[in-house]
Amino acid sequence: MTTTAEPGAATAQAGPDRHTPEALQAEFDAAVAADTRIEPRDWMPDAYRSTLVRQMAQHAHSEIIGMQPEANWITRAPSLRRKAILMAKVQDEAGHGLYLYSATETLGVSRDELLDKLHAGRQRYSSIFNYPTLAWADVGAIGWLVDGAAITNQVPLCRCSYGPYARAMVRICKEESFHQRQGYELLLALSRGTDAQHAMAQDAVNRWWWPSLMMFGPPDDESAHSAQSMAWKIKRHSNDELRQRFVDICVPQAEILGLTLPDPDLRWNEERGHYDYGAIDWSEFQEVLRGNGPCNEQRLERRRAAHDNGSWVRDAAAAHAAKHRKAQA
């Protein structure tokens, strides 16, 4: 909706009727229909704004909580090359968190506010990060499956109707694809390594496969926000569509890896031209969302501790900046 980039000019030309709620809504709807990007200064429905805040904040939170399961292995990485790759990845995630908080701030909320909500458990992060990383191979499984699922979800977001979000996703997807390839390559090295390494890789895939499928969210007939988000072009594809796309990509990749996926019902369906897959245990998903996953408490506790232990540092930086400003004035 870049046509309103010069609000002064627009006001001068158009009469006051351009600003009735109906007119604003019509202009917004037309912009969405025409695939024009909505920008921060544009009028938007309150519900559109709050949906975006919810989704983008959750996305940002996922990046920073997502640092924990992988950072868990930085000090124990088995080679210096792998250690460097993992450190770079965790650093990228902090960077993605920063982009996404900035993008969310364009909607009129502050990063501090969002972090407070995360720490209070009032905003969510991706359920996947409530699973533990129990072995080195988990780092590879996260790269291949978790980042793979994230990319499948996020590539369509590069065309999302809200400009700042779409642009953040373009940058993030490039880096995520790189991480995903590295995770795949890590698993490949293990799979082709010693028997113990192969077993470690298979065990990690067994534990991460189903949680990765849950990353696409509830089935279409139970997804509360889907229809509205698709109408607003925040979302471009349904949860089940994206999940199917992901399964179809993963099966041949698993074959190349020499690893199996833990689903006895997984098979090619000639008629549909897709892989059929087994039923997802949605009760587990609901439990994890309710806070009862294996690491929910630990992840949030760690995040709060980092924030609380750092408060004197942030206070010091603020006090120093205030003194410095005063001194310059």
């Binding site: 990485a77 770079a88 902090a94 390594g193």
Partner: protein, 227 residues
Amino acid sequence: MGDDALVLAQRLGEWAGNAPVLEEDVALTNIALDLLGQARTLLSLTGDEDDLAFLREEHEFHNAQLVEQPNGDFAVTIARQLYFSVYQELLYTALAEHGGDLAPLAAKAVKEVAYHRDHAEQWTLRLGDGTEESHRRMQQALDALWRYTGELFQPLEGLGVDLPALRERWLEQVTAVVEKATLAIPQGADHTPWAAGAGRQGVHTESFGRLLAEMQYLHRAHPGASW
């Protein structure tokens, strides 16, 4: 030098996800990555980087005791970074000028280290000249680590750099930052009483064994495997 960079990278890696602000998660990991890169280059000059990192025991490591010191609070980490990055910048500058085998590496690394030093200086200023609490913590951190600084300037044979001569410039630079931060240069010995040479001769502090146990366990559990 490779061990210094490796061990400090390992310590900084422990900060990932635990920093006071997201920007510091990025910065500390960034510094750790630079140091790990330096370590890999330096270790590769003398053998296989992974054999050297994962298959030596405590007494075979030659890093200074300063870099193995636990992270402590953010002030301790910053004090360690200040002492070490000023030293490293002087050392790499001297190596680059000296023109020996290490000159190309040093010339590249000195750019990274200048950034590390700037980061440590900025935080020393913020913490020293911030709140009462941050001032107290920063001074405590500088004091606690002071006794590990002398070791950095022990003469090292074959390096081609007069390390003892660097100490004066190091002290000048560190003093300038510390005083600007309204803090004081610690009084007292810059060596522990029993350890002449210490880390450089393979004599380490207690926490170092645990650092290696964590770093090496997986590699050692799968002898000969490639990763």
